[in-house]
């Protein structure tokens, strides 16, 4: 498949636009000077990944990303930012001063991963996807073949819920505990 063929397909135009926006937002997540902006750019980056999932016919996962990440996790993040009173305006001390080594390391990771995937899957094409994966197939897989992992994940969520409440709860002082015991 030549480059002219690749660029000729409309779906690849969509990919280029969405991918560019996703990467730009991802870059802003890690470089933004404003904490709230960084969290909001994560919304854009995850929205971009949801669009990519739709392109790859993974409709259910795309909407799960929108609901869980953009709907719930981001609210949690904004809540965390507000409650830790992180400076919501510009803050120069937000980043560590040594940026060279992390930049080199992440560049090297990118080169390694990129080289590995180019080497292994040179021109593997994603064939015409046709119908999107139906929620029925996913639901049957989740409650059939993968029912044990599914239950384990539910248990993790329950443990996280209880753990989160326990960790974040304010410990009572001995005096308060005594008063509570007296009532």
């Amino acid at each position: 498949m030549s480059f002219a063929d690749w660029i000729g397909a409309p779906v690849n135009w969509v990919f280029l636009v969405v991918g560019f926006l996703t990467l730009l937002s991802a870059l802003k997540v890690v470089t933004a000077k404003n904490v709230v902006h960084a969290a909001l750019f994560l919304v854009a980056a995850l929205g971009g990944t949801a669009v990519l999932f739709l392109m790859l016919s993974a409709e259910f996962v795309a909407w799960v990303v929108v609901l869980v990440y953009i709907g719930a996790v981001l609210v949690l993040f904004l809540f965390g930012i507000m409650i830790t009173r992180a400076p919501t305006g510009k803050d120069v001390g937000l980043d560590s001063p040594n940026k060279l080594l992390p930049a080199l390391l992440s560049g090297a990771t990118f080169l390694l991963l990129g080289w590995a995937s180019l080497d292994a899957f040179g021109t593997t094409e994603i064939a015409d996807l046709g119908e999107a994966t139906s929620t029925e197939v996913l639901g049957l897989a989740l409650l059939g073949r993968f029912v044990i992992p599914f239950e384990v994940v539910s248990f993790i969520l329950l443990a996280a819920l209880i753990g989160g409440v326990t960790i974040a709860r304010r410990d009572l002082s001995p005096l308060e505990e005594e008063q509570r015991g007296a009532v």
Partner: protein, 101 residues
């Protein structure tokens, strides 16, 4: 569509996550970078599923699992951040050196 275009996009996103993880000093921003890396992993899972077309949509099932575990991680992570902030009045990782010798 080539498989590689998705894999390389995911690799770029993962590398940006690593950069953010190392450079940021605010705990909440470090957690944001971790989310980026998890999203990159999900792109890979979905892209491989689109190539392999397994009968049970295994790639998508595992993407759902990753999202669930990520949600649990954020919940616990922010609870820990809250507690650290209450005890130390700071969310800056450079100041959290209590366990360093």
């Amino acid at each position: 569509m080539l498989l590689n275009q998705f894999l390389i996009l995911a690799a770029a996103m993962f590398s940006l996550g690593i950069y953010g993880l190392l450079v940021r000093r605010n705990i909440v921003l470090i957690l944001l970078s971790v989310e980026l890396m998890l999203a990159a992993v999900n792109i890979n899972l979905i892209a491989f599923e689109a190539v392999l077309r397994t009968s049970d949509a295994i790639g998508q099932v595992f993407a759902v699992f990753v999202i669930t575990v990520a949600a649990a991680e954020v919940g616990i992570g922010l609870a820990i951040v809250l507690m650290i902030f209450r005890n130390r009045k700071s969310a800056n990782v450079d100041e959290l050196d209590l366990m360093r010798w």
